[in-house]
């Protein structure tokens, strides 16, 4: 008898909270952002901290609206986005192309590998002073910095990805008469895509922080540039609004990218 009661209690305990837990979990999920904003608002307004240096989200919101209505936000957003896109696309294409070649051909790996391994660990931000001398404050310098950050990450991902393509698939392709020059496109590239996409996704984040470094170094428009200018005028709301925009655009890019990646590498 006691045994049976024990069992019943266990099943009841195991079943009931399932629905309750799920509802609770969803509730907590929905609460995450409002709770954070609310605490922030209270913290700022209670004057525990200096409200000028730590303005509440409502002030930040107003600053964002002002920024948008002045038309400046769209320009800044467009400029920043174009730098990321141009730098990312060029860096990623070169990275994939060269990575596939160095991954497959010892000649290419020996020629380029050692020098890339030396250049790769240099933080792209360290190039800012040189880039200003080389390219001035023009767009080319911004593209270059983002390119630099993206290229090596994608290169190493593609390089390792190609080397990790299942040898059995390559053998099978050879018995099917796949000529070497078509092996790249038919087997090695698709086979290494899962690795390449990991590199590409990491690079999305990298391209945003190189963008910030590039814009802080000097330009005439852009999200990070706007933060810099707001600092000089002690516009705290504007500065934080800039951070919010960077957060929104970078996480949206990451999300978009993962959806895109799942479609392209559908077999994973």
């Amino acid at each position: 008898m006691p045994d049976r009661r024990e069992t019943r209690r266990v099943t009841a305990a195991g079943r009931q909270p399932k629905g309750r837990m799920e509802r609770l979990n969803r509730f907590v999920l929905a609460l995450s952002v409002p709770l954070f904003l609310g605490s922030w608002e209270i913290l700022s307004r209670s004057e525990i901290v200096n409200v000028i240096l730590f303005p509440p989200p409502s002030t930040v919101g107003i600053a964002l609206v002002d920024w948008l209505s002045s038309g400046q936000l769209l320009t800044d957003f467009g400029m920043s986005l174009s730098r990321v896109v141009v730098g990312f696309v060029s860096g990623a294409s070169c990275g994939i192309l060269i990575g596939v070649l160095t991954g497959r051909y010892v000649f290419a790996a020996n020629l380029l590998g050692p020098i890339f391994q030396l250049l790769r660990p240099i933080p792209p931000i360290a190039f800012v002073p040189i880039v200003i001398l080389w390219f001035g404050l023009g767009e080319l310098g911004k593209y270059f910095l983002v390119f630099w950050g993206v290229f090596f990450t994608v290169w190493i991902a593609a390089h390792l990805g190609v080397q990790r393509v299942d040898e059995k698939l390559i053998r099978a392709a050879r018995t099917l008469g796949t000529p070497e020059h078509r092996m790249l496109r038919e087997v090695l590239l698709p086979g290494s895509l899962p690795y390449i996409f990991v590199g590409l996704r990491t690079s999305v984040g990298i391209s945003f922080y190189t963008l910030v470094a590039a814009e802080l170094a000097g330009t005439f428009a852009g999200l990070a540039y706007r933060i810099d200018i707001a600092q000089q005028n002690l516009q705290m709301g504007q500065m934080m609004g800039g951070l919010v925009m960077l957060g929104v655009i970078a996480s949206a890019a990451d999300k978009l990218f993962s959806v895109f990646a799942n479609r392209i590498v559908w077999w994973q």
Partner: protein, 273 residues
């Protein structure tokens, strides 16, 4: 219709000749003799099985025909021409399915013809014909990883046949399948073979499988890999699964098993001495 086309192209091609072939891996004191002076002629359209304990070099012999390994001594040739590398005239089916996961079933089978500059339409129609032959027409648009192990191997067979190879090399292709699927695969392989008659070289360590499939069985011995005996299987064709219970089948099986048991014992004693 496809099968008749294939059979016509086959003609008398697919004669494999292995002469005094040795394959030695490594150098000097690390040298390992994988295959020791093996000579065998495989007739056009013959179904040959190679059996033997693991490490007897049966896969090395197959890889030499495929063009993945090269003889240290001796020669391997196909229709009188020395084998210099993998080629579309020798289709291969591996133990694990090696289908391209990013292509659907049809595109996997069409890969070979496409590599030989057939148009997509042509390649796809070849693929569809072969998929019909292996009974997978309904799965042409499926992703390979959604198929069962047996279906994946049937796709792999269709893919290997798509280049109309004169030789089909099979390296323990049904080794990873369950017993029931295995039997079905063996029957359907025999059916395909009788329709298009490529030369088949089939490596296995399953004696039942070898007797059921082969015209001739080569029994190899381990370290060094040598041909121990050739056994001609003169069981009538077409063969069906029930045949494995016939007295003639059992007698052949006993003969093979005795041979292999003696051989394994000898190898075991040699290792423990």
């Amino acid at each position: 219709m496809i099968s008749r086309d294939l059979q016509q192209k086959q003609g008398t091609k697919g004669h494999i000749s292995i002469r005094d072939m040795s394959v030695i891996f490594g150098e000097r004191e690390d040298a390992f003799i994988a295959v020791d002076r093996v000579s065998v002629d495989i007739e056009s359209g013959e179904f040959l099985c190679i059996v033997g304990p693991s490490g007897c070099g049966k896969s090395t012999v197959m890889n030499a025909i495929a063009g993945f390994e090269f003889p240290t001594e001796g020669t391997v040739s196909l229709d009188g021409i020395a084998i210099e590398g993998p080629g579309a005239d020798r289709g291969m089916v591996f133990q694990q399915p090696t289908l391209f996961p990013w292509k659907n079933v049809r595109a996997n089978v069409a890969h070979g013809p496409r590599m030989h500059n057939k148009s997509n339409a042509e390649a796809n129609s070849i693929a569809d014909g072969l998929l019909e032959m292996v009974g997978l027409s309904a799965f042409a648009d499926s992703r390979p990883q959604t198929l069962s192990g047996g279906m994946q191997q049937r796709t792999a067979i269709a893919r290997a046949l798509a280049n109309t190879p004169s030789v089909l090399l099979m390296d323990e292709p049904f080794g990873a399948l369950d017993a029931q699927t295995r039997l079905m695969m063996q029957e359907s392989l025999l059916k395909i073979w009788s329709e298009i008659r490529p030369t088949v070289v089939f490596v296995t360590h399953d004696i039942d499988e070898a007797i059921f499939l082969a015209d001739r069985i080569i029994v190899m011995s381990a370290s060094p890999g040598r041909i121990l005996r050739e056994i001609t299987v003169d069981l009538p064709r077409p063969r069906a699964a029930e045949m494995t219970l016939d007295a003639s089948f059992v007698a052949l099986k006993r003969q093979c098993m005795d041979l292999i048991r003696t051989e394994s014992l000898r190898a075991f004693e040699q290792q423990t001495r």
